[in-house]
């Protein structure tokens, strides 16, 4: 516990990543942001496979942090540690400390159900429930017992759809099935579903990889708007996307966190040769 307070006290200062051979400079500006999630020495094992090695990473509040890297580099694995979605995978073991607002999310006293309400998630493939649009968005508030009456629930659903930029398209057909929407609309429905429980952090695992460029542009716009109210972590294969939507970027390679820094710095002046190689398209 004392360790936690110590780290939290030093939190406002720029924190360098320990793994990178060269010390990674943190560009000015990021230091001012409050740290929402603090990951220290995170290791993930799938059976005997060491999938994620000694990752130290800070996620700043009200910023978009992009996780990039070639396939199998561990970025999705890291993302899924942040709301303990790895718990459901057989043989997956997480070692290290991840603190959300100074509380260790892997502590036994922390309820994983509550954690996932605070740290929402949007998946690669749009996965609306085979229910109506209304029920999709209302599901989270319902299971957590948030709304006291129908009017409250209606308001939550409408506000969530509004914030997800979907309300204009669906306001007259809330009772039609969510699976009947187009791919981009489905993904925005999933975002609305995630924000309906008012999470603090939203994790997005390649949210645009199944969408066409127009739908992608809408989601990216939306991510930029959502940044005001939520802390966002996004895994993406598209470096242009990372450059467009994120303030900070972390580059993973073969289970190592190679480099983390301001997005501008990572894309214009990477410190590590591997980062340079990846963003210039020499591998990955």
């Amino acid at each position: 516990m004392s360790d936690a307070t110590q780290i939290a006290a030093s939190a406002p200062a720029p924190v360098a990543t320990a793994e990178s051979p060269q010390p990674t400079a943190v560009a000015p500006g990021t230091g001012a942001a409050a740290i929402k999630i603090l990951a220290r020495d995170v290791n993930v094992f799938y059976g005997d496979k060491h999938a994620l090695k000694h990752v130290d990473l800070d996620i700043n509040e009200h910023q978009v942090t992009a996780l990039i890297g070639p396939s199998g580099c561990g970025k999705s694995t890291f993302l899924r540690c942040l709301n303990r979605m790895n718990d459901v995978i057989d043989g997956c073991r997480v070692v290290g400390s991840i603190k959300l607002d100074k509380a260790d999310i892997y502590d036994t006293s922390l309820d994983v159900v509550q954690l996932r309400a605070r740290v929402g998630m949007v998946f690669q493939k749009p996965n609306p429930f085979p229910k109506s649009i209304y029920d999709n968005v209302a599901y989270g508030p319902r299971i957590h017992g948030i709304a006291h009456n129908k009017a409250d629930l209606d308001e939550i659903v409408h506000r969530s759809l509004e914030r997800a930029g979907l309300i204009k398209e669906v306001h007259d057909r809330l009772d039609s099935p969510g699976t009947g929407l187009s791919g981009g609309q489905q993904q925005r429905l999933c975002i609305a579903r995630a924000i309906a429980v008012n999470p603090e952090v939203i994790l997005m695992d390649e949210p645009c990889s199944a969408l066409d460029p127009i739908a992608t542009a809408r989601i990216e716009e939306l991510i930029d708007e959502l940044r005001e109210n939520f802390t966002i972590v996004i895994v993406t294969h598209s470096m242009q996307q990372a450059a467009r939507v994120s303030q900070r970027t972390a580059f993973f390679h073969l289970g190592d966190l190679v480099e983390v820094g301001d997005t501008e710095q990572i894309f214009t002046n990477p410190k590590d040769g591997r980062t340079q190689g990846y963003i210039t398209g020499r591998f990955g």
Binding site: N83, D90, A117, V122, N127, P130, I143, A194, V197
Partner: protein, 431 residues
């Protein structure tokens, strides 16, 4: 790359060479052969089923009609007292009323031979009418009742006229009387409602499947009530909660083994445990259903696990991702999506149970019971055991009834499997 001479590699890729053409022809032939093998297999299966159904229909179709005779009954007040209508001498009433139309039958022997045209239950049929309505005493009324089995078979042509008299159960004299009844339009062959409304009887003309159908229904009800919830709960635990490891593997192997255990073994188990150890009532649908549920359980567990596995992980992740707890993920999303598959498996399991004979024989559901059971605790037969009993009976009428009962059983099976297919088509969801 040069155009001087074709290299070895490009010669190998010459699609128009005789070798290549030959290969194409051979490949297409192989495709056709595979198709023909399949068609032959399906043709064989269809042929066998056609032979089965055809032979059953050929031997059983005439049990779906029943020969009836109508005649005038005079309830002689000297033989029945209005005070105790159930105690009258109905045997004499039947004999006197039926023989009245045939003045030539005077000797007691002839009268008895003539009365043999009627079902042996004729006195009881009239008694029941009189008890139900005592005002009939002293009056005349028309009654229609089944003829006895030999005459039913005779009317249907199963007993031919041209065999020598001593080789048939119908005498020449009786044939003359019967022909007279036919000439008077007193013989009718309506649809055999008794086949479905009567319970078992010693007399084929009165025996029906009502007891067996009701018994099978109760047994399946018990079987469903036990195996459906238990099967789903077990499958949900194995699929959603159990850690994958040696124990779950052992459990899985054993469940699959359970599905392969011969049904007679389950019957012996039911006899030893349910009847002898727990002292439950024998021959009852309760015990029958319990034994059948042992057989249905593995089918339901296996079908449910497959249905649960088929629910896409994205739905579970979506629910988990907004903080649904495990029971919410299972009850709100996984089970409803798996339900069509589960129900299909259940119906197929139930259809198996409906046709299962051996375990029911061992717990005594092949008893001779002449009324449909009023509940799961009353002795009963089931459809397959009723078939077993009838197949064992020597009377000519039971041969046809056995086939008819098999057709009824197959009808139920086809209906159940059809429901399963329709449900699968209707609720099948594609992702």
């Amino acid at each position: 790359m040069t155009d001087s001479s074709p290299t070895i590699a490009s010669a190998l890729f010459d699609w128009n060479s005789p070798r290549m053409r030959g290969r194409f022809v051979a490949r297409h032939k192989a495709d056709r052969r595979l198709q023909i093998y399949g068609l032959t297999a399906i043709g064989t299966a269809v042929l066998l089923i056609a032979i089965l159904i055809g032979s059953l229909v050929a031997s059983g179709y005439h049990s779906f009609v029943q020969t009836h005779v109508s005649f005038e009954v005079f309830v002689d007040p000297s033989k029945v007292s209005a005070d105790a209508p159930e105690k009258g001498n109905y045997r004499n009433i039947v004999r006197d009323s039926f023989t009245a139309a045939f003045p030539d039958a005077t000797s007691p022997r002839d009268k008895r031979a003539l009365t043999d045209i009627l079902t042996a239950d004729a006195p009881y049929i009239i008694r029941d009418r009189v008890v139900a309505d005592p005002s009939l005493i002293g009056r005349r009324f028309e009654i229609t009742m089944p003829v006895s089995d030999p005459f039913d078979q005779f009317e249907k042509g199963v007993i031919p006229r041209d065999v020598p008299e001593e080789q048939r159960k119908v005498s020449d004299k009786q044939i003359v009387w019967f022909d007279a009844l036919v000439a008077q339009d007193r013989i009718t062959t309506p649809f055999n409602t008794g086949l479905f409304l009567n319970a078992d009887s010693r007399f084929p003309e009165l025996a029906g499947l009502a007891g067996a159908i009701v018994g099978s229904f109760y047994a399946l009800l018990v079987c469903f009530l036990i195996s459906f919830p238990v099967g789903i709960a077990a499958a949900v635990y194995l699929e959603e909660f159990a850690r994958k490891g040696r124990w779950s593997d052992i459990l899985e192997v054993n469940i699959n083994n359970l599905a392969a255990v011969p049904s007679v073994v389950f019957g012996l188990l039911g006899l030893a445990v349910f009847l002898n150890f727990f002292g439950m009532p024998r021959s009852t649908p309760l015990v029958g259903g319990m034994v059948l549920s042992l057989m249905t359980l593995p089918t339901i567990i296996i079908a449910t696990r497959a249905a649960l596995k088929a629910v896409p992980p994205s739905i579970r992740e979506a629910a988990l991702g907004i903080g649904a707890s495990k029971h919410q993920v299972i009850l709100h999303h996984v089970l409803p999506l798996a339900m069509p598959g589960i129900l299909t498996g259940t119906i197929i399991g139930m259809a198996q149970a409906l046709g299962e004979t051996a375990p029911l024989l061992l717990i005594g559901m092949n008893a001779f019971i002449t009324s449909p059971p009023g509940g799961v605790l009353e002795s009963a037969t089931a459809l397959p055991t009723q078939i077993f009993i009838w197949a064992d009976s020597p009377e000519r009428g039971f041969v046809a009834r056995t086939s008819a009962a098999i057709l009824v059983l197959i009808g139920f099976l086809i209906a159940m499997n059809l429901v399963a297919v329709v449900m699968r088509k209707r609720f099948e969801r594609r992702w």
